[in-house]
């Protein structure tokens, strides 16, 4: 019975698990006013802002060490995301898989589970959508095809995450590790399909699937280059927010995540709730994979997810598992990720250079973990 010992160990203040950041009290403005009510509050705000500035400065120092002008690099990142009208749609459509995979982290996090498998769940979703999309071809009208693709993607993503959830509640296999390992399996499955059975015979020998037919491609909204996926993602995010805040299921998840033993004694089906949280999360990530495929990528490619599943984990952490903040974090990270080709072109950096900035931005709340609990 290791479970019953957990609350006792929780009081030990050495490198243990932090308190639950998902349970907030009052609205952010109230908390801010309260926190700033005295001099100490202002000091804490100063420290917080300072840490973020140091983290941004570290990225500047890093690019400077690689003989690039840090101001130029930041300018380039801004230019290629929000300062040019052409790239705002790019930021929006790339935020779709990031936001949905981030919600796939946040829902299980409510129940105290760590889902690091967003990448694998995105891939499996995209694979399922490709399979259905290519099979249907021109035979069915658009909306029916999208729904079929989305359902297949949601089902497969849910199963991929659900397996890890099931292993957690049955044999106790750590879900952070199993979901991570399953990412690599998912990627290998995709590569296998792309190099053998699904390889496009007309693709010039490249490992690509057949492109989706015009029927399957998600339409653009109002003649812009933003596709329907953005609206779907937004609606889903609001839905998740409402469900987590207002539904009995959302409340039960929070109870399980807050104190599993209490939840069990209150008669909640802890295991079922945990698995359901993983299924829901995986389904959303699968949907993210489908929306990105059918809206932006239009054919399955190796490495097509561009680590969005991992970026999503960082976004979920930055947004502190609050669905709306998570979406904002996803937009921010999408804006940074979109800047990668510009940095490659202008400064000769490897495209992964943006990972440094993303990681450093998330380092700030990590550094501030102790401060935050004192402040709010």
């Amino acid at each position: 019975m290791t479970l019953t010992q957990e609350p006792a160990a929780a009081k030990i203040e050495v490198g243990g698990a932090p308190g639950d950041p998902t349970i907030s009290n009052g609205n952010p403005f109230d908390r801010l006013t309260r926190a700033l009510g005295d001099a100490a509050g202002w000091k804490r705000l100063g420290v917080a802002v300072g840490v973020y500035i140091v983290c941004l400065g570290l990225f500047g120092a890093f690019v400077a060490s690689q003989k690039a002008n840090p101001f130029g690099v930041y300018q380039s990142l801004l230019d290629s995301s929000i300062f040019s009208t052409g790239s705002v749609p790019a930021v929006l459509v790339r935020a779709v898989p990031i936001a949905l995979a981030a919600l796939a982290v946040s829902i299980p996090a409510r129940a105290g589970l760590v889902n690091v498998g967003g990448e694998g769940q995105l891939i499996i979703g995209a694979v399922a959508a490709t399979g259905v999309g290519v099979a249907l071809g021109q035979h069915v009208p658009g909306p029916l095809g999208w729904v079929a693709m989305a359902l297949a993607a949601i089902a497969c993503g849910a199963v991929w995450a659900g397996v890890a959830g099931l292993l957690r509640v049955t044999v106790g296999a750590n879900e952070a590790v199993t979901t991570l390992l399953m990412n690599f399996v998912a990627n290998d499955i995709m590569l296998y399909l792309l190099y053998q059975p699904w390889k496009d015979p007309t693709g010039g020998g490249q490992p690509e699937s057949r492109p989706l037919t015009s029927n399957e491609v998600l339409p653009k909204i109002f003649g812009s280059s933003v596709n329907l996926g953005v609206i779907v993602a937004l609606v889903v995010a609001i839905g998740v927010y409402v469900v987590l805040k207002r539904s009995g299921w959302g409340f039960a998840l929070r109870v399980v995540g807050g104190n599993q033993e209490a939840a069990r004694r209150a008669g909640l089906p802890v295991k079922t709730l945990k698995v359901s949280a993983m299924l829901a999360g995986g389904g959303l990530a699968g949907l993210g994979g489908m929306l990105y495929l059918a809206g932006t990528q239009l054919q399955l490619l190796p490495g097509g997810t561009l680590d969005y599943g991992y970026i999503a984990f960082l976004a979920a952490f930055l947004g502190r598992h609050d669905p709306l903040k998570v979406v904002l974090a996803a937009l921010l990270f999408s804006a940074i990720a979109v800047g990668a080709p510009g940095l490659q072109l202008n400064y000769g950096f490897d495209g992964n250079v943006v990972d440094v900035l993303l990681a450093l931005i998330v380092c700030a709340p990590l550094v501030l973990s102790g401060y935050r609990r004192k402040a709010f």
Partner: protein, 304 residues
């Protein structure tokens, strides 16, 4: 002439060593109560540092030392964030991994095209000539031999020295260690830093011992596998050795089967090591949980 089975075992020991170093390092950290998912990042940093120093100075050995230090730096950052700043352990590890991917990809660009003199293969006198076992265990690069000793040293240090006792006590009940007049926070940071240094050596074994090249994200999840190995080996150094070789053999089997013309898609074979690790994790999960250091069980079972 070796047959496929012996080939897989020989290559499995060599490849398993890549996992063995980080797994032993992770074991040290977890015994002190800290999980380091950033092991992947420590390996990546170690792999690049070893390759860069090896290619620049011409000495793979200096590279291995550089790998140790590069891993330690990442590990120290993790220890500081988790112990001093009370950051979430799993999030901190993953963030540092991501940081390592970015930094090594950028710095590593120039080393992709460079070559390195790899660690030499030394045949152990007498033992290396033993039929069958000789080639499998005693015809490798010296880091492989070092890892044999390291398993014994880690076991001895954990169970037979005072420092090991303090380390294990820190992982179980840091409060008790504190009352006994020691600093559990310093023990944890030291353990994570040392463990991450070993992960760096594992990265060095990969870049200057096993594949003898550098490319982006070359650790390919091996650090996560090392964490999994520690979990299913239930924090026992000797079992970690076998767990690491199990992965090494699965890794080697993929290329051996391919070389022998087995008609299975290469990418399906590539997933074999991860599947084997997952199966082992599931098979041994139940037996391992009761052995988990008490302070660690908390970190693993309920985080945001």
């Amino acid at each position: 002439m070796m047959n496929g089975f012996e080939e897989a075992l020989t290559s499995g020991v060599e490849g398993g060593t890549i996992i063995l170093f980080p797994a032993l390092g992770e074991l040290i950290g977890e015994r002190a109560g800290i999980v380091n998912l950033g092991t992947e990042g420590c390996m990546l940093s170690g792999a690049l540092a070893a390759y860069a120093v090896g290619a620049t100075t011409g000495s793979a050995w200096l590279g291995v030392i550089a790998g140790f230090f590069a891993g330690s730096v990442v590990g120290f950052a993790h220890g500081w964030l988790v112990v001093k700043q009370r950051a979430d352990q799993l999030a901190s590890g993953l963030v540092l991994w991501f940081l390592a991917i970015g930094v090594t990809s950028v710095i590593g660009t120039v080393y992709v095209s460079q070559s390195v003199t790899p660690l030499p293969i030394l045949k152990v006198p007498v033992l290396g000539s033993v039929p069958w076992l000789g080639p499998i265990l005693f015809q490798h690069d010296p880091l492989v031999y070092a890892s044999y000793f390291l398993v014994a040293i880690v076991w001895w240090a954990l169970y037979r020295t005072r420092a090991g006792l303090v380390l294990r006590a820190t992982g179980e009940r840091p409060g008790v260690v504190s009352v006994a007049g020691r600093r559990p926070d310093l023990v944890q940071i030291a353990a994570v830093t040392l463990g991450a240094g070993l992960a760096g050596i594992g990265g060095a074994q990969l870049s200057v011992g096993y594949v003898d090249s550098w490319f982006d994200d070359m650790t390919n999840g091996y650090g996560f596998v090392a964490v999994a190995v520690v979990l299913f080996a239930a924090w026992r150094p000797i079992v970690v050795l076998f767990g690491a070789y199990l992965f090494g053999i699965a890794l080697a089997s993929a290329s051996v089967l391919e070389a022998h013309g087995v008609q299975i898609n290469q990418y399906l074979l590539d997933s074999l090591p991860y599947l084997v690790t997952l199966i082992a994790l599931v098979a041994f999960a139940r037996s391992g949980r009761s052995r988990a250091p008490e302070g660690l069980a908390l970190a693993l079972s309920n985080t945001s």
